[in-house]
């Protein structure tokens, strides 16, 4: 060590030397090329496996990306995010759930401070990610205009195959104040242009698009057949079939000319949806633009009229006019109708415009005005990604900010009196206490206390989505864990009756499938606990099944830990005069539990995932929501998107759990594992 000189002393037998200079280990790291050669292409087999694996990964990822950008309807997620997160809980629950959410952020921050450090670099990365969550939607909104909406008008019907679309003269839509709408009357140059109207479109525009696409397809097919006939690669039979095909296939005349698409001017009228007052009345010629600025937020009605004797179809592209989702629910005893614009979630409440006869006017609804055709990346960004991030960013930013505040506050408090004998001891104690406070607080907030205005009772039947999944998991864990410990101790008990009863319980509940238990609990729990009967209490009955089930598995895990303890531990404790229950409490259990953390966390994770089975007995947990959405009219049959989404949520929670378990194993008195 530099700076410290040892006295050099020599005598006959022993020589004292200066300490030898410390040497750093030799640099053995290699460059990236050498690394690649050593690890990816070490041998012929390695090379083959690397290439095969890479091909597989690239294939899967590119398939998934192509599908999720081009085809998938992610509106089923963005529109239903609340359903995914909390189910159908009452609106008064929202602030309570937000409080709970932020409290969990505090808990996370304090626990991070107590048990593991978060490097400043990681905080910086987190902050950057969050900032990106705000900036990306903003950039997208600024750089990429939302796609056009195609509307058609006319007096005649349009047919494509077996589909016939009738013109709709008046259509209602919602818009915000001071928004600009740009209409343009389009005259397509050819059918190819018509076939590429990939965007939101009404029924008639879509039918035009299909008709053009079909015509082009059959034209192409005939061209192929002609080429085949000109060649000499066909058998006699094939040649005859091709010739017949050529004979029988009639290619219709070009769609854009036969329907005279965009040949004549169109008269447009915009009315206020509430007052029916005319805002603009004008005529737009082919190729012309009409710009309107809307006075206020709310409903508008667009009238697009072709003169009675006109046979042409007008094709309008409209920007600023986007389809809406509609939904209705009961709020404080009254039915509320909500209309939400798909592209930017502009929300309007209240009744729809009606015609003179009192019937609802046709609306620019998402069901009839879906996005048609392959979606380009720009539209994916502006329609799907931007709005989705916009929905998440505030919540995530708040969570992280509160967590960071709790983290740095507790570290500061801890450092202020750093003269403690054991560093972090007090902080760790507070962290544990915070856990003990959080769980009852969570249930207080979720369940409520009375029907009064303060912490109003919420209806368990309405709990759903992630909320229900987490409630079921946490209740099952918190209640089953002590039961499991008692069962494990019971099974090892020297009292024959206790041991036999515990063993019987464990074996029975491990021998019955969870599904069976769930069905049984729905029917049988009420005989034992009559207060849990009725559909309202279905979540509680399911909890009973989950508790009984996981207690048996946890018991076996804990027993494994107890059995792995060296006997010397108990002997030492007995020699100190500790009574039996204190030995269990202070010596065997803490060590046994620590030894089986991986098994316990595995059990927790599988319990978390097993809660998805409650869908089968009619609860709408995360998986239930995914099923429910596939039955909504707007998202009929869209299962892929929702299942992928819940798979991601399940995965995030499971990996957080296993990550935490790894930290617990490695943290604190890790010496216990030495």
């Amino acid at each position: 060590m530099a700076g410290r000189q040892r006295p050099r002393r020599l005598d006959r037998n022993i020589a004292y030397f200066d300490e030898p200079p410390e040497r750093r280990p030799p640099i053995t790291e290699v460059g990236p090329v050498a690394w690649v050669r050593a690890n990816l292409f070490g041998s012929a087999l390695d090379t083959a496996l690397t290439l095969l694996g890479a091909l597989f990964l690239i294939g899967i990822i590119s398939l998934l990306l192509t599908w999720s950008i081009g085809t998938a309807n992610w509106y089923s997620i963005t529109f239903n995010l609340r359903l995914f997160l909390v189910g159908r809980v009452e609106a008064f629950m929202d602030p309570r759930i937000s409080i709970l959410f932020l409290f969990i952020a505090v808990l996370a921050g304090v626990n991070f401070a107590a048990w593991s450090r978060i490097h400043l670099r990681l905080w910086a990365i987190l902050a950057a990610v969050l900032l990106a969550l705000f900036i990306i939607p903003w950039l997208i909104a600024g750089a990429i205009p939302p796609p056009l909406t195609w509307l058609a008008a006319g007096q005649r019907e349009v047919t494509s195959g077996s589909i016939t679309a009738r013109p709709v003269e008046r259509v209602a839509f919602i818009a915000g104040a001071d928004e600009e709408i740009v209409f343009r009357l389009v005259t397509p140059a050819d059918d190819a242009q018509l076939a590429r109207l990939n965007s939101f479109s009404d029924g008639m525009a879509n039918t035009l698009r299909n008709a053009a696409a079909n015509r082009l397809a059959s034209e192409q097919r005939l061209e192929t057949v002609r080429q085949e006939l000109a060649g000499d690669r066909l058998t006699e039979r094939q040649r005859a079939a091709r010739e017949a095909e050529l004979e029988n296939t009639a290619v219709p005349p070009p769609v854009h000319t036969s329907y005279e698409v965009g040949a004549h001017p169109l008269s447009l009228t915009l009315r206020s949806g509430d007052t029916d007052a005319e805002i603009v009345n004008g005529t737009i010629a082919p190729g012309e633009e009409l710009r309107l600025t809307l006075p206020q937020e709310g409903w508008y009605v667009l009238e697009k009229r072709v003169p009675d004797n006109d046979d042409s179809i007008a094709l309008l592209s409209a920007s600023g006019l986007y389809p809406v989702f509609d939904r209705s629910f009961i709020r404080e005893g009254e039915r509320v109708f909500q209309y939400m614009r798909a592209t930017d979630r502009l929300l309007v409440e209240g009744g729809r415009p009606r015609d003179a006869g009192g019937a609802d006017l046709p609306m620019l609804g998402i069901i009839d005005h879906q996005y048609r055709g392959e979606r380009p990346l720009a539209d994916f960004l502006s329609l799907m990604l931007g709005p989705f991030l916009d929905q998440l960013n505030l919540g995530l930013a708040l969570f992280t900010a509160v967590m960071a505040a709790a983290y740095f506050a507790s570290r500061w408090l801890e450092r202020r009196d750093s003269d403690q004998e054991v560093p972090l001891r007090r902080l760790r104690r507070s962290a544990v206490w915070l856990w003990l406070v959080t769980i009852p607080l969570a249930f207080l907030l979720i369940i409520g206390v009375s029907s009064g205005p303060f912490l109003t009772l919420s209806d368990p039947q309405l709990w759903g989505g992630l909320l229900l999944t987490l409630v079921l998991t946490v209740v099952a864990l918190v209640v089953a864990f002590p039961i499991g410990i008692l069962l494990a101790l019971g099974r090892r008990s020297t009292l024959p009756v206790v041991s036999a009863a515990s063993t019987l319980y464990i074996e029975v509940f491990r021998g019955v499938p969870l599904i069976t238990l769930l069905f049984m609990s729905m029917l049988l729990v009420q005989f034992v606990l009559p207060s849990l009967s009725g559909p309202d209490n279905a979540p509680y009955r399911v909890m009973v099944a989950l508790i009984l089930f996981s207690a048996a598995y946890l018991a076996e895990d804990v027993r494994g830990g107890l059995q792995s303890l060296p006997t010397g531990q108990v002997e030492a404790a007995r020699a100190l005069g500790l009574p039996g229950w204190r030995i269990t409490l202070h010596i065997t259990l803490p060590q046994a539990l620590r030894a089986v953390i991986p098994a316990l966390v595995g059990q927790f994770i599988s319990l978390f995932k097993d809660t998805s089975l409650v869908t089968i007995v009619g609860l709408i947990d995360l998986t239930g929501v995914a099923n429910l959405i596939a039955s909504q009219t707007e998202f009929q049959g869209l299962r892929r998107e929702t299942y992928i989404f819940i798979a991601i949520i399940y995965f995030i929670f499971s990996s957080v759990m296993s990550n935490v378990s790894r930290r617990i194993e490695a943290s604190g008195s890790g010496a216990a594992r030495a």
Binding site: E421, P566, G568, E571, L576, G577, P579, H586, A674
Partner: protein
């Protein structure tokens, strides 16, 4: 002080070394592990402040004997009296006797999930119900006595074997026992660490603790013991003051054993 029994072969005689009332008395004690007769007609008494070293080949029942004294093993015949209390099935008696006796194990058996300090303070707080602050002060003094006050807040896994064993001794002493049992306390230690543990034990013996020590450290026996017991095949074959015992062993089995280890 102790005087060697004139007839080392005699059994069934209670040997009291001093005029004081013995603190441990074993009378005609027998024990079996299954069919195997581990302890045969053991008769020993230990006077207060006496240091008794038990030696013998492995499997001779040395450890079992001292483990019977604090009821880690159950004897099946005969009588054990500790400080006047009989060790039987009475749970309260067992608890009372264990409070009188501290024990140190070959494998230390520290609680790995607790710090050295917590290892020491656990029993005084939970069994004796003494206030934590007071117990922690005492524990600190004990750690100073065994020479490792700076390790108080380390976990056993962070300590060397010798340090662990010294913590184990401190842990046993924290219950303020009248008797200490040592079950091969240095057998699992590196040679360098044996001395530090033996030094602590010597200091303890000099302070007047009653000690029963099972060990292979003949130097320790010679220097510290008041009496050496030699056991073989579950019997006490020979006993005496160390000078007598090591220089003029009578029984051929003792002579053979000593010739092999010395």
């Amino acid at each position: 002080m102790a005087s060697a029994d004139s007839n080392p072969m005699s059994q069934g005689t209670t040997i009291s070394q001093t005029d004081e009332e013995p603190i441990i008395i074993c009378r005609d004690m027998n024990k079996w592990f299954g069919e195997f007769h581990v302890l045969r007609d053991i008769n020993v008494s230990v006077a207060p402040q006496e240091v008794v070293v038990i030696i013998g080949p492995s499997g001779s029942g040395k450890s079992t004997l001292i483990r019977c004294i604090n009821r880690l093993e159950e004897h099946q015949e005969g009588q054990i009296l500790v400080d006047g209390m009989e060790l039987g099935h009475d749970v309260r008696n067992i608890a009372a006797i264990r409070r009188e006796i501290g024990m140190v194990f070959q494998q230390f058996n520290l609680f790995p999930h607790l710090t050295a300090m917590q290892n020491i303070t656990l029993a005084p707080i939970r069994v004796r119900h003494r206030p934590r602050a007071e117990v922690e002060d005492d524990a600190m003094q004990l750690l100073e006595r065994v020479g490792i006050p700076e390790q108080a807040h380390k976990y056993p896994g962070q300590l060397s074997g010798g340090q662990q064993q010294r913590v184990a001794i401190a842990r046993a002493l924290a219950m303020e026992p009248k008797i200490m049992l040592f079950d091969e306390p240095t057998s699992a230690l590196d040679p360098e660490m044996i001395k530090e543990v033996l030094d602590v034990m010597k200091e303890l013996a000099l302070s007047g603790m009653t000690m029963l020590v099972v060990t292979h450290e003949m130097g320790f026996a010679r220097e510290v013991a008041d009496r050496v017991l030699f056991m073989d095949e579950g019997r006490i074959v020979e006993q005496g003051e160390p000078e007598h015992f090591f220089e003029r062993a009578q029984h051929p089995r003792t002579k053979l054993f000593l010739s092999q280890i010395l």
